[in-house]
């Protein structure tokens, strides 16, 4: 019998042969991207590979992502839905607004969303929150993984529009998509500064850590509006 340890609401560590990050499968019997399904008594867990998910890596890096069963999440840069599926597991009674710009990725995301009622797919540019403001309610968490050179600005625009006063922003910054030539550490410093100062009211940075060894040249940031 695999041993299950709860890390935080909806996030578990399942020990079967080795320790594995996992979430409770909202769509039992079905794997989304080839991950392992581990049944423990009445519950089925889906393993969550931190190397394929920046959010997964952040969990293991002890970011306090503070999601509850009924949390509302705005997910910018949903891609094919690998990580979105785990967020959907965690906020089983809540809602995930999954914004993605590429029609090709949206195709996979639609397949996922049609099986999971708490995912609301939105094909739009995350840099233009006005274009989906008629759809999205105030949220408890914005998770952003867009790999764009102006990602700090994108985060700010969305946070001002959609983030609750007590909500959090979780951000994955890819150094290489901001400046391919510069030293990642310098890029991170500049980006964090932008988040703190470049707009009103600015973010308060609660945690910022490199996502090594799971992702190269990526910085995870947890912040809230000042």
């Amino acid at each position: 019998m695999p041993e299950v340890k709860k890390l935080s609401d909806g996030i578990f560590e399942v020990i079967k042969d080795k320790k594995q990050l996992a979430t409770k499968n909202l769509d039992p019997g079905k794997a989304v991207y080839g991950e392992k399904l581990i049944p423990v008594q009445e519950t089925e867990y889906r393993t969550w590979d931190p190397r394929r998910s920046k959010l997964g890596a952040m969990v293991l890096k002890k970011f306090n992502i503070s999601l509850k069963e009924n949390s509302k999440v705005l997910y910018l840069g949903a891609a094919s839905g690998t990580t979105v599926s785990h967020v959907s597991d965690i906020v089983s009674e809540g809602a995930v607004y999954a914004v993605e710009f590429a029609p090709r990725s949206m195709r996979d995301l639609i397949r996922l969303a049609s099986r999971r009622k708490n995912i609301h797919p939105i094909l739009a540019d995350a840099g233009k929150p006005d274009s989906y403001s008629h759809l999205v309610e105030p949220v408890d968490l914005i998770f952003q993984d867009v790999a764009q050179p102006n990602q700090a600005e994108i985060a700010a625009r969305n946070a001002i529009r959609f983030l609750k006063r007590d909500g959090y922003l979780l951000l994955s910054i890819k150094a290489r998509s901001i400046d391919t030539a510069a030293n990642p550490k310098e890029v991170f410093k500049a980006e964090v500064k932008k988040l703190e100062q470049a707009f009103e009211p600015g973010f308060e940075i609660l945690n910022a850590k490199d996502l090594k060894p799971y992702h190269e040249d990526h910085l995870g940031v947890l912040a809230k509006l000042r």
């Binding site: 639609i110 009622k117 008629h134 309610e137």
Partner: protein
């Protein structure tokens, strides 16, 4: 204050109380189309932090949060499906064709090498290559079947190749048939690209030729993106490795990416290639913009380009002497 939402239009007072609401019916398709129509709207946006769900329940659109989320889910899903199905534009079809062509080429080359290696054991003197070899094998199979009218008859008769057993002959003949059908597929795709390029990007096709034009669209991602690229980017599309090496380290900047396959560029003498590539890229960029934004064919573009290249050639008839030595030395050192 007027507020547009996916379920209708609300009229609110200063503190956000709903005074009036015009709600849409709960028809998923209509709601999805309405939602899509609001994408470009710049006015009557919900204010920051506006609670759409609460407003939907208060105004009577949804009876409960559960119903609100159910409808929202269906509507976003439907809207996304509509957007995805309209995303396959003619330039996207060209991109698929270019990528299919690359796959076919790669496969054909691998299979052809196998065929040539395989049949070489039975008739090494044939001297045939590519499609001709495949045709030959499909026609005759074993070299013993070559008719006396065939120019290869005497070579086949005196060949040092081994005897081809019937079982092997059947196998190799069918294999050659498969390779041959891939050659046909390649021509079919090329014809398709040529035809589509004439419709989608006539100017680009005129200046770059159908294949190079299609490849540029493919590498850019769409005709729109290609039209938005500065010509300096078009000049180095396909040389990203060299470009990033240049940006990160002290490597020389690439002079050309895939536009090297343009006849004006690859026939230019080495000391002019950078200049010619720049001229070609600038006209390619103009062509892509005309194709994307107006679509009318402008035959003067190619004339201007040829005149420009001629001018470059007359202005620089000889290679620069001194610079070449320095350049050669530098290149050697950097390569280490």
């Amino acid at each position: 204050m007027k507020i547009n939402t996916w379920f209708g239009t609300l009229e609110t007072d200063i503190v956000g109380e709903i005074l009036e609401s015009r709600l849409l019916s709960k028809d998923i398709r209509k709601l999805a189309l309405h939602s899509l129509s609001l994408r470009e709207s710049r006015s009557n946006l919900p204010p920051e932090g506006f609670d759409l769900k609460a407003a939907a329940i208060k105004s009577g659109f949804a009876e409960s949060p559960a119903e609100y989320y159910f409808l929202l889910h269906e509507v976003t899903l439907e809207a996304a499906k509509l957007q995805v199905s309209s995303a396959i534009t003619p330039d996207q079809r060209i991109i698929q064709a270019v990528e299919a062509l690359d796959d076919v080429n790669e496969t054909t080359n691998a299979l052809f090498e196998r065929l040539s290696e395989w049949y070489g054991g039975y008739f090494p003197e044939s001297g045939l290559g590519g499609e001709d070899l495949a045709l030959f094998i499909v026609k005759y199979g074993s070299r013993e079947n070559v008719s006396s009218e065939d120019p290869l008859y005497s070579k086949a008769r005196d060949s040092m190749g081994a005897k081809l057993e019937p079982a092997d002959e059947a196998l190799i003949k069918d294999f050659a048939g498969s390779v041959l059908s891939l050659y046909e597929r390649r021509q079919q795709i090329e014809a398709y690209i040529e035809n589509s390029m004439e419709q989608v990007a006539p100017n680009l096709k005129h200046i770059a030729g159908p294949m190079l034009g299609a490849r540029l669209i493919s590498l850019a991602g769409s005709l729109e993106k290609l039209a938005e690229f500065p010509s300096s980017t078009i000049q180095v599309i396909g040389a990203s490795k060299a470009l990033f090496k240049h940006l990160r380290a002290r490597a020389p900047s690439p002079k050309h990416g895939i536009i090297y396959s343009h006849p004006l560029v690859n026939t230019a003498p080495w000391w002019l290639r950078g200049k010619v590539a720049r001229a070609v890229a600038s006209k390619l960029s103009l062509a892509a913009r005309i194709d994307f934004y107006s679509g009318e064919k402008d035959p003067s573009l190619i004339e201007k380009l040829e005149a420009k290249v001629l001018q470059i050639r007359t202005l620089n008839p000889r290679p620069p002497q001194k610079k070449q030595e320095n350049g050669a030395k530098l290149k050697k050192r950097r390569r280490k």
